[in-house]
């Protein structure tokens, strides 16, 4: 596997000096296998939101790379991440996508496990040899499981840093999306799921900072939303905009309101809750939110988020996961969230608005997918792979961060360059090196 990095023509995958990235890494099965090894079966991977499993025994079934896991709230109230595979013959303990369990019973031969993974019984304990210690044969737990502001992550490498340290400066921005009120956020429905015939990294790149594609790809909803909003008497125009890059290849793009629209967008937040923001957010965070129109970003490798609004009262916070299936296929999960304390009616609007735009039938989503699939197909041959992708429009800006008055991280202007995308690719490249 390791000799895959020495690719045929000897060119690097990510050429930061020239601003190009090999197409091979967006299609190759060998690269995908290496990604599993170096990234998905090792680093912090987002799995679920705490509110998906509020009660003891609640679980959701998710995947980390190719590893199926159960994310369960065990009796103590702690969240555990367990390999979804019986220690006896490998059967999946949970074969649905979600549920509530008192314990996990394997339907094959009857091994049963407690919610914390401990083996209760093999059903034939009397046949076990004396030296088999049942404590060694519980469900395999992910060695690292941590939550940040309701976002549950796990990692299979016990040596990864603390989640809070891994998130670094991006945590400041995550706070403003995921913990604005004392109650925090709440997932409003199960995640939408769909398959895309495209590499997972295209999704991450699209969210971390792809201001260039909006006008072209999303001509439809961009045009129609504007008309629709004007009819409704209010269109939220964007003004100043920039990208933020933090350590570990995380990043986001922020677009503020156009001058002359002071706080207009802020009004789309749940009215009764705006005051509560001050209880959990810093003055600086609130100041940013007051002026914010869109925040969209990515936590390395495959957790994306967006809050976007066009019309008064129409906004939602979305989480996206780009779950790799192969070099050329991705399963996308998409959650809609709102503040826990918001009214039922507000949540209902947020949910509808969220998936009208970004769900399995999303008017933004459908056009991206069509183009990503065609990019993947067209790049999946050796002739195309002689010609790397262009990330040129990062280079003139890459080494010149601007003063970011409103938040941490390195900020860059304008926002329609590819600085954040190249930062993601650099981090990816480092993660793929044997010594990283």
């Amino acid at each position: 596997m390791n000799d895959v990095t020495s690719i045929a023509n000897g060119d690097p995958w990510v050429d930061t000096a020239n601003g190009t990235v090999s197409r091979e890494i967006f299609v190759s099965e060998d690269v995908f296998c290496l990604e599993l090894d170096r990234i998905f079966h090792r680093l912090w991977i987002f799995l679920a939101h705490e509110t998906e499993i509020p009660n003891r025994g609640d679980y959701v079934v998710r995947t980390m790379g190719r590893v199926p896991v159960i994310v369960v709230r065990e009796a103590s109230g702690e969240v555990r991440v367990l390999l979804n595979s019986c220690r006896h013959r490998g059967t999946k303990l949970c074969r649905g996508e979600a549920g509530n369990a008192r314990h996990f019973v394997c339907p094959y031969h009857g091994w049963s496990y407690a919610l914390d993974g401990g083996l209760i019984s093999t059903s034939y304990d009397e046949h076990l040899p004396a030296d088999m210690d049942k404590a060694d044969w519980g469900l395999v737990p992910a060695p690292k499981v941590e939550s940040y502001k309701g976002l549950v992550f796990a990692a299979w490498d016990p040596g990864v840093s603390q989640l809070r340290d891994y998130l670094g400066d991006i945590a400041w921005y995550l706070d403003t999306l995921f913990w604005r009120t004392p109650g925090g956020m709440e997932v409003l429905a199960p995640p939408h799921r769909w398959r895309a015939r495209a590499n997972w990294k295209i999704g991450s790149l699209n969210f971390i900072g792809d201001g260039q594609h909006v006008a072209t790809t999303h001509a439809g909803p961009s045009t129609l939303n504007r008309l629709h909003s004007k009819k409704a008497g209010f269109f939220v125009r964007g003004g100043e905009s920039f990208q933020v890059v933090t350590d570990e290849g995380h990043g986001c793009t922020l677009t503020y309101l156009a001058p002359g629209m002071p706080e207009g967008n802020y009004l789309t937040h749940p009215p009764a809750l705006r005051d509560a923001y001050a209880e959990v957010l810093s003055a600086r965070q609130i100041s940013m939110m007051h002026h914010l129109r869109v925040m969209v970003g990515n936590v390395f490798p495959n957790l994306s988020f967006i809050e976007n609004q066009v019309a008064l009262g129409e906004k939602a916070v979305l989480i996206r996961q780009w779950q790799p299936i192969s070099g050329t296929e991705t399963e996308v999960l998409s959650w809609v969230l709102a503040e826990r304390e918001a009214s039922a009616e507000y949540k209902d609007r947020a949910l509808k608005h969220g998936f009208h735009n970004f769900g399995a039938g999303g008017v933004f989503e459908q056009d991206d997918l069509e183009l990503w699939a065609s990019a993947t197909q067209a790049s999946d041959n050796p002739i195309a792979q002689r010609f790397p992708f262009s990330f040129h429009s990062s280079l003139p800006f890459d080494s010149a961060p601007i003063e970011n008055a409103r938040g941490p991280g390195r900020a860059y202007k304008p926002s329609n360059t590819e600085v954040a995308q190249l930062a993601f690719m650099r981090r990816w490249d480092a993660a793929m090196q044997p010594g990283d």
């Binding site: 398959r195 629709h228 009208h356 989503e365």
Partner: protein
């Protein structure tokens, strides 16, 4: 969400009227004639498509909306996919063929309003993908007499899918 009670029979005339409406509707959608299609809807139409979380049989499956539109947002959706300049997913257009079958009609509230239950199978081939695929589901339509004709006032499509297999849904079901 499963609102199918015992289906009360209606007259053959009413059954035929409903069948004609649904057949015509499917033909308009297959032809991508969204303007004419929109005219078959009431002005306060609701359009909901759900997918499904598979859960243990004891709990039962959970349906959740992937599309939940009123007339306003539905119009936006259709304006987008019907205009070659505004859509990428539907340019080149996907080929679709709708099969609407197993019709059962029941009286619903006011006289001459009906609930129609059908099975839906939509074959779709993307302009860019070599393989066609299918959406399958159960459809429940509330039909109301409005502006002189029977029109669709409320549609619920319960898809038999938990993962949509080929990207996001860019057609009307």
């Amino acid at each position: 969400m499963d609102d199918e009670r015992g289906i009360a029979t209606v007259s053959d005339a009413a059954f035929l009227e409903v069948q004609r409406l649904l057949n015509r509707e499917a033909a308009l959608l297959d032809r991508r004639d969204y303007a004419a299609w929109f005219d078959l809807l009431t002005e306060d139409v609701k359009y909901v498509v759900t997918a499904r979380v598979s859960r243990p049989a004891e709990t039962g499956p959970l349906d959740y909306a992937i599309i939940d539109e009123d007339a306003d947002t539905l119009r936006l959706r259709v304006l987008q996919i019907g205009d070659p300049k505004l859509t990428r997913a539907e340019n080149p257009p996907t080929l679709t063929r709708r099969f609407v079958s197993n019709l059962e009609v029941e009286a619903a509230g006011p006289p001459n309003d009906y609930a129609a239950h059908t099975n839906l199978l939509v074959y779709r081939q993307r302009g860019t993908a070599p393989d066609g695929d299918f959406y399958a589901g159960r459809r429940r339509d509330l039909l109301r007499r409005d502006r002189g004709s029977l029109r669709i006032a409320d549609r619920l499509v319960r898809l038999d899918h938990n993962v949509l297999f080929d990207g996001s849904l860019s057609i009307v079901l």
